[in-house]
């Protein structure tokens, strides 16, 4: 609940879903192009965040999950 990363990821996924659905409904090409650019930028940001933060964290958690000092440092 207090993790800002989780909040931002949920927000990002919602925005991607909204942009995707609204893109399907629009007829004007310039607006469609702008929306798809925004969609790609947002997707890029989320992927970059996942690769630089979430993935290393997940790997570290996997490697050190049985390592006692890892827990003692976190707590």
């Amino acid at each position: 609940m207090n993790n800002l990363d989780t909040c931002l990821h949920i927000l990002g996924i919602e925005l991607l879903a909204i942009f995707g659905l609204v893109w399907l409904l629009l007829d004007e090409q310039p607006i469609k192009r702008m929306l798809s650019n925004v969609f790609m930028v947002l997707l890029g940001l989320m992927l970059a965040h996942a690769v630089t933060h979430l993935l290393p964290n997940a790997i570290a958690r996997f490697i050190y999950s049985s390592h006692h000092p890892f827990y003692s440092k976190k707590t």
Binding site: M1, N2, N3, L4, C7, L8, I10, L11, E14, L15, A17, I18, L21, V22, L25, L26, D27
Partner: protein, 261 residues
Amino acid sequence: MNLSLEIFTWAIGASLVVSLASLSGLFVFWLSPERLNRVTPYLVALAVGVLLGDAFIHLIPDAVKRQGSVSEVCLMTLIGVFIFFVLEKWVRWRHDHSQDFTGVQDTIRPMAKMNLMGDAIHNFVDGILIGGSFLVDPVLGITTTFAIVAHEIPQEIGDVGALVYGGYSPKQAVLYNFYCSLTVIVGAVFTLLLSQIAESSLLFLLPIAAGGFIYIAATDMIPALHEHSSIPNLIGQTTIFALGIGFMQSVIVLENILLAL
């Protein structure tokens, strides 16, 4: 009441969920034009049941709980009906005016435009409720969001049907309905930044939204239902009207369960 970046982000995320729910009207694209034409009167019947149910089962009792005075809430609801009457007069005047001077036939019925305005006010109120509940407690915010989404989905489906009936194409109906739903975010941000003013504005916004719904359902949609008077229409529309009311009543039960958790 403490506003942190997390609370702000959660409230915006919850508002976006409600906006996403407004896209539930996308199902109309799965229907062929002929089938959509046949289904539209039933969707209007659903919209009537849900709008009246929302006004009499949710908005007015909530306003009475906050205001404490039934007579004041009734007066504000009447003012809401009056405001929407004036709005419709204005929309109709513009409708006639554009026909006279530009020569362009506006095929959109005033009912559809009124529906969009009413929906925008209602969504703004929902945004205030979401923002306010997140300020009190994030868990309460999530349960409030679920309750709002539960009553929003049938309403949006009915609204899309009413907008198609009002002359919009299915694409326009879903898109404009979505644009109106973005007022949820405005309402939530307004509450998060100015919680005291937003809380007190609910005292008049809730009954005015209720008055708007009663006006739209009773004056614009119910007469439209009477245009179809065959026996299958009579049975189908009556059943769906009742289903709309029943659904809004069942949302009350769901709300109570969620809030008891």
